[in-house]
Symmetry: C3
Subunit: 210 residues, 3 copies
């Protein structure tokens, strides 16, 4: 039996058509008989035909369609792209609440969140957000470590210090999610680290379900 | 047909009840007829009824129930929370064997482990655990980089250096798992980094199956 | 009914045998009757027997077998181990194109890539790869931070600076994948960081599908 490709239209009746799903089951009394059941899976499709007396089995298929839909739902990509406006040349911006909002909106219940900063003079870290002086001390500590200007810097844009800090702090960090909530330690908050602002920055929140 | 919600009790016989699963299939000769097949998927439930002659199909459903159970098993959340007692103000504690034990206990065969330290004055790193002097040199190197006391520190708890080191080393790291084993390089071990001890610390081991 | 273990041979006909899959459905008119349907799921197998008139249902099983195969495909482990020859004592090697090639070869469409360096004197970072002077400035900046020789170094191999840098930069980083492509910021490239070369290094590319 020739099996239609994902996206191909499956003729159900005289004027009824339904696309074959990439993942999932399309089952219908196609015109003319016999009855087709087409399943799309990653990598292709498979199909089988049934005589009319197979209706009972097709009810099982109807139930399975839901199961496949549930599995697909569990695997759907979930990414949120947050825009963060920084206000100073160097700044730690607490984004914890916004990351939690992204997780809640996506409906992620259990899994891991990967935070990623798509910039080369910014980074992401997790540190105390109770006393704001901690963020200040971290920024100042990094300034002490990496001088704003140095004779050996070759990069002509004059922001080599920001690039070095970005590599020291890092572009990505992971946070666990349980019961729909970010699981952080008592004093932990998530910070976007600006090292060459003020600018419009992005923080990508990639959610991976268990 | 009205479909019961996950957790609702499905009446099987006069005194028999079974809760509808959140994910999975509950199929039973409910009282009175017809026969119900209820499938719970993320986001809701779906159900179908069958006349008696559907029993053969229901055997298929019985087989499928196992498949769904297997899929659910593959997606079950696996987190282990290790308690680590540190013994000094600054210390690298080798936790490799304990992380491996957590992976073995959870039965993870293939995937990624995310290690996460829920503290703001501790971190996690991977480095040589053959010669213990490497861990000493790393600790001393960090002390040289970030002074214990500095005029510019504003945080009143007096542990700003530990916060800065936590951000430099980072709160999370990933390790691959294959064949039930952590896959590390020849000389690599996993260290919890204490920068403001001695204390009782936690290390979370989140396991994500392929 | 006794259910064969995964890997056991299922007798189909006089000289036909088929191994029971670890995950998946093996359904066949075994000799003698009745008809067996065996499903392997993580953790074991389950099976059911059918009389001949169950053939219609078994067609459903045939369709399901494809679905299970698709699910298994979505969960197959994908790791690529890149060999990287470094040419200098300290070097940032741009591996972006090679990581993309590994993703393309594995066919990962959507998910997260975990990059892992199985060494203790090398690391992985993401930073600008447009102007090569940025990589130079990062290397020089790290040299300034961590002296090649120091009186306090105890490790006899004389490469303590490389171990310290490896912990500062880190052994793992994550990158998102969408539409089969690494999703990086405009200026971002992926670098293997050599701190004690020249050597033959490895970079592991672990791909986790959504």
């Amino acid at each position: 039996m020739v099996c239609p490709a994902p996206g191909a239209l499956l003729r159900l009746g005289r004027k009824q058509w339904r696309p074959v799903p990439r993942i999932g089951i399309a089952s219908a009394p196609v015109d003319p008989k016999p009855h087709f059941c087409i399943i799309g899976v990653p990598g292709g499709t498979s199909c089988a035909s049934f005589p009319d007396r197979a209706w009972v089995s097709l009810r099982v298929v109807a139930v399975l369609r839901e199961a496949i839909a549930g599995i697909r739902e569990m695997h759907r990509p979930m990414v949120s792209r947050l825009a963060v406006s920084t206000q100073a040349h160097e700044q730690l911006v607490d984004v914890t609440a916004r990351v939690q909002a992204a997780v809640s909106e996506a409906g992620l219940q259990s899994g891991v969140v990967t935070l990623f900063v798509p910039h080369t003079t910014a980074a992401v870290t997790i540190n105390e957000n109770a006393d704001p002086s901690v963020a200040q001390d971290i920024l100042k500590g990094l300034m002490e470590l990496v001088p704003r200007a140095a004779e050996y810097y070759r990069h002509l844009e004059g922001n080599s210090d920001a690039h070095i800090k970005a590599t020291l702090v890092g572009p990505s960090v992971q946070v666990l999610v349980e019961g729909g909530k970010l699981v952080l330690g008592t004093w932990q908050g998530i910070y976007l680290c600006e090292f060459d602002g003020p600018r419009e920055r992005k923080l990508w929140v990639k959610m991976s379900a268990d």
